[in-house]
Amino acid sequence: MSTAATRRRTSDTRVGRPHVVWALPGVLFFAFFAVVPMALAFYLSFTTWDGLGDPRPVGLANWHRLLDDPRMTQSLWLTVLLTAASWAFQTVVALLLGVWAAGPQRNRAVLSAIFFVPLLLSSTAVALLFYALLDPNFGIVQKDILGSSSGAFLAIVFVGGWQFIPFHTLIYQGGARQIPQVLYQAAAIDGAGRYRQFFSITLPQLRNTVITSTVLIVVGSLTYFETVLILTKGGPGTDTAILPYLMYEAGFKSYDFGYASAIASFLVLAATGLSLLLVRLSGFGAMRSTREGM
């Protein structure tokens, strides 16, 4: 107690640091609208509730049901598959475009400006655009792509990429511009060709950018909810019903809020675990300047 008091006094007198209570409004606000609901979702997962009366405790019933539900298994698998496919598609294209756009080509400024266009539309607008363009009667391809299960899946991956690749391209472009040119000069003197330079310098130097972009893709793949809701409504059948969509249906279509909360709790656990892992890998949690070496 007394040591804590001395420590605070010394640090205060040294350089006039702000008091911790300055952080309180932000923490409380975030806690109330994000952390409390998370705890509440966990609590609700042990109840049955139709949204009107009071939640009634039912123990582990929702969780047992979750484990036995074939739709849940399918949905989980689908979510993983969609995230993996989106990651592969977006990372490869954005990395190549970003590195290219960081380079010296004369027309790259114009092209980069055009590449930016999808970022000016919201997810909802993008989903609606492709909803119209993929319409079998009206669309570019006069085929019922969204009616086949693999077609619908690929359409969601493509639409997600169409929308988000420009953003990740920007990230990689920024990252590639920060690579010191001396590395390339040295490599060129040693006789390394362009592809050798890409794999031996560019890629390793972009390691942190790849991790940042990956965190955003993984967490962001859950926002494909809009795309799924508008493009396929989880169909055909249940073939594109990713976890957030399953949760939405259970809660706001079937008014089965207890079960929806169990799915939601599962989502929180999975997302938190994944992000902890990625944050650990990226070292972002370390309290140091971003300009210190990698």
Binding site: P25, F130, L170, Q178, P244
Partner: protein, 301 residues
């Protein structure tokens, strides 16, 4: 060591605005020969980006009765603004102003709450400020989808259901983690010496915040403004679940409702999509560098 001399992305744009030349010098070293494969790839992606946009613009100008017969890729033979009139006459202005209110409010809340938080995290490294930072680090991973059910309960209890506040408050909360992370990243780069100089002059923490930290963190702050505004502009889930009547309806939800309202009238639907993009497009034209640089800064560290 070299990294100390390298500008961070958000600052790069500022440097470009004041001193454009650097890229030129860089050109000489990078690669001298053209890279035809990369050029081909970029043109391919150009087509992938441009064709849907073109088809959208073209179809939105096509009379509805002809939309289903013609190929959407052929240019509109006699363009008509009818579809745009249809959309504008169905309450588009109301949606737009609601969305603008949400965006401004979200940006304001996020800035007022996140800046002191990041400031404390960087300047006061004790157990509690570190705990606060860890909370937001974890918060990045909380998907909004996972908490809509309990939030729905909270919003109803607070008597906010079907109001703009029901959209604003949760959106601001879920925008905070990334905002705090970006700001902490920026503030960490403000030199300790400057703080000590301010302290020697007897400046209070509050004065230091306004006279030193905020001016030096402009890059990070503008990134947060852009990020928060886009989150608010694009938000769909919270409006979908927390509002229901016409009063507090925002743009994204309005677009979604046009699907059922216009049904088979795809040209009108596409006109509404075009209109929804125009405000951001206008901002893009005016503040291209800030927008691009800001988005680069969200992940460019």
């Amino acid at each position: 060591m070299t990294y100390d001399t390298l500008p961070r992305p958000a600052k790069t744009t500022k440097n470009h605005a004041t001193a454009p030349p650097p890229p030129k010098r860089r050109r000489r070293h990078w690669t001298k020969r053209a890279n035809p494969l990369a050029g081909l790839g970029s043109v391919l992606w150009l087509a992938i980006v441009i064709i849907p946009v073109y088809a959208m613009l073209s179809a939105s100008l096509t009379p509805q009765d002809r939309a289903l017969t013609g190929n959407p890729l052929s240019p509109p033979t006699d363009p008509t603004p009818d579809n745009y009139n249809t959309v504008l006459n169905s309450g588009f202005g109301h949606l737009l102003s609601n969305t603008a209110i949400v965006a401004v409010a979200v940006v304001a809340i996020v800035l007022v709450l996140s800046i002191p938080l990041a400031y404390v995290t960087v300047r006061t490294r004790d157990r509690w400020s570190n705990a606060a930072f860890q909370l937001f680090l974890l918060g990045v991973a909380i998907p909004a989808q996972a908490v809509v059910v309990p939030l729905y309960l909270l919003i109803a209890q607070l008597d906010l259901y079907d109001t703009l506040l029901a959209v604003i408050l949760p959106t601001a909360a879920f925008t905070m983690p990334v905002s705090v992370l970006v700001l902490v990243g920026t503030l960490r780069d403000v030199s300790e010496d400057l703080y000590e100089a301010m302290a020697l002059d007897g400046a209070s923490p509050l004065r230091t915040l306004f006279q030193l930290t905020i001016p030096l963190a402009k890059g990070g702050i503008s990134t947060v403004v852009i990020y928060a505004a886009l989150q608010a502009w694009n938000g769909f889930l919270f409006p979908l679940i927390f509002t229901q009547s016409d009063g507090p309806r925002v743009l994204t939800l309005g677009l979604f409702n046009y699907v059922s309202q216009f049904g088979v009238n795809i040209p009108a639907l596409l006109a509404s999509v075009v209109l929804s993009g125009i405000p951001i497009f206008a901002v893009y034209l005016v503040a291209r560098r800030a927008l691009v640089g800001g988005l680069m800064g969200v992940g460019g560290k």
